[in-house]
């Protein structure tokens, strides 16, 4: 292990976005006198009559949810993007805007209001993976849709307004900023090396072993070298696949297992239902070959020291560069030790 990285301030390069993160290992000793988050240890019922995502309940627009048994998808009632929205472009000097159309969906992971992915079995998670695959396929086939962003906001601290286990998909006509950055970096590397940037990186990580949390035959769970959030993690297939529809049935189960292991370890870390935003970055559905893409799923959890003390990405982080105290290697060690 390179001990300089554990002892001295440095920046690390994110090969996927081309941006940097500032690491200040010595700063983890700083006392915290700021805001604390509240932890809800409330035990939720398996069905909540006031929840608009529970089976059989009526949503705000009057629609009634079916009596679903595993996964349930519907179009977001308050969609940020709409398929029938007017299209236009504004090119007025330094004012530049473009209409954006799209389709936003909500995916209930389970009818059980009390659960999260961490409490669901691998088979139940695999059913969610199946729906992600179907939706990527379906939305991506729509010729007005050029990118399908699957994500989950978990926990009130991550802006989640309903504790019922669910995620979202925002699919749209143009390519979002973060996907564009990863597209560029992967394309440049692929045209130069004729191999997958992320694939080559994973090989290096599997040899170094320092940042690996878990692996099975087909997937790796690790803290990226350039992680921003204290316990940020990535799940990636060892083989290069452009998108989640390309994995086999066996690989799909291995992926579900990886999600299960990571979310359980997260919950164990601070003995709480661990908040995060997760998202799957995969090839844009823009009709290009996208041979340079290697899909992966990232988890950005805000907690730093305990269930109530989070990392604030403010000030310097907003105007300069994201900054972290605890190193990726220390974080990986702590999570790895919790894997059962």
């Amino acid at each position: 292990m390179n001990t300089d990285l554990q002892d001295y301030s440095h920046k690390r390069f994110n090969i996927l976005t081309g941006e940097w993160v500032l690491v200040s290992p010595h700063r983890a000793k700083r006392p915290w006198q700021g805001q604390n988050e509240s932890v809800s240890n409330e035990v939720r019922p398996t069905h909540d009559p006031n929840c608009y995502l529970c089976a059989g309940n009526t949503r705000i627009n009057g629609e009634v949810n079916p009596d679903y048994k595993d996964v349930f998808v519907f179009t977001n009632d308050f969609a940020a993007l709409q398929s029938n929205s007017k299209t236009f472009a504004l090119n007025n000097g330094l004012f530049k805007a473009e209409s954006e159309t799209g389709i936003c969906k909500v995916i209930c992971f389970s009818p059980d209001h009390s659960k999260s992915l961490a409490d669901m079995g691998v088979d139940a998670i695999n059913k969610v993976v199946k729906v992600w695959q179907e939706e990527y396929q379906l939305l991506g086939a729509n010729e007005t849709i050029n990118n399908v962003q699957i994500f989950e906001n978990k926990g009130a601290v991550m802006g989640c307004s309903n504790p019922h286990p669910h995620g979202q998909i925002w699919s749209q006509s143009t390519i979002p900023n973060e996907v564009e950055k990863k597209d560029n970096q992967q394309k440049t590397y692929y045209s130069k090396n004729k191999s997958s940037l992320l694939g080559d990186y994973l090989k290096q990580e599997l040899e170094a072993k320092e940042r690996i949390i878990f692996e099975n035959d087909d997937f790796v769970v690790l803290i990226p070298f350039w992680a921003i959030w204290p316990f940020e993690a990535m799940i990636a297939p060892k083989k290069q696949y452009k998108d989640i529809t390309q994995i086999s049935e066996k690989e799909s189960l291995a992926y579900a297992e990886a999600i299960s292991v990571l979310t359980k370890v997260y919950d164990a870390l601070f003995a709480c239902s661990f908040p995060y935003s997760s998202g799957i970055h995969q090839a844009p559905t823009n009709g290009e070959d996208n041979n340079h893409w290697h899909w992966h799923m990232s988890f950005y959890p805000p907690l730093l020291r305990s269930a109530t003390v989070k990392k604030f990405m403010v000030g310097y982080e907003m105007f300069g560069t994201p900054q972290r105290d605890i190193t990726a290697e220390q974080a990986a060690q702590r999570l790895r030790d919790l894997v059962k």
Copy 2:
């Protein structure tokens, strides 16, 4: 006014960073059932014996603050960057890191524990401006320092751990991500047009009038066309200056007035001490001519609808593109109406 921008989903281009923001005007109607912030209406004493920033008190490292009368600067006791830190570089395949040295300072804006910039007079704010100028000059002259980032985190929700009015400076050996982006965009425009990108933009804004909150002879306060945060604002000098040391005494007072007007209007909006992170982007102190730079100060406040409901930059925002509901024009109108 272009009404399409008020009615339909679209993305707007940030000329300074080269990135986009997604705007969904129709989505402002969405009900909020998520986390609420707590508002502290606690009246603070003018001197708090337990505050490590108040005059005469002892800090955690044993140093005693002087009996300061207006502005007081010291080196951060828990600095993320240190000037005597070891320098090294790691270039191991796809693991790329570089040491980062620097100097971090804390600036107390006033000895009065109960105040914020919004409660201070223009002359008192001007004293803070003077210290920002001195520090940019002093730190920038250090040959190991190539960027001086001045910022303030205000409010517990912005990770501020002490309500005493204060800001920070993180100065360092390399150029942070956000400064790099703005450097590139301004440089490209300047070499093509031989004029300031931001200067030309301000002219267009002063004609359009839609996003202006306030102006005086020398400064404009506006919501940028591409603002991300609901009530994000920018203060910029009408004339092109690379950094804050270049403004005259008269302009310095005009700048202090602009800060005073904006922070007062913010406090009036939701009848609370308005939280934000603010930061000054100016020419890097890297020894280059930086003739393309036009300094400006930005305010990123998290509140959306009230003192307790903030905008969460999560999920789609982290994996895709920042997203807002209320448009820049609507936000500017609301703030403009509050200017006394």
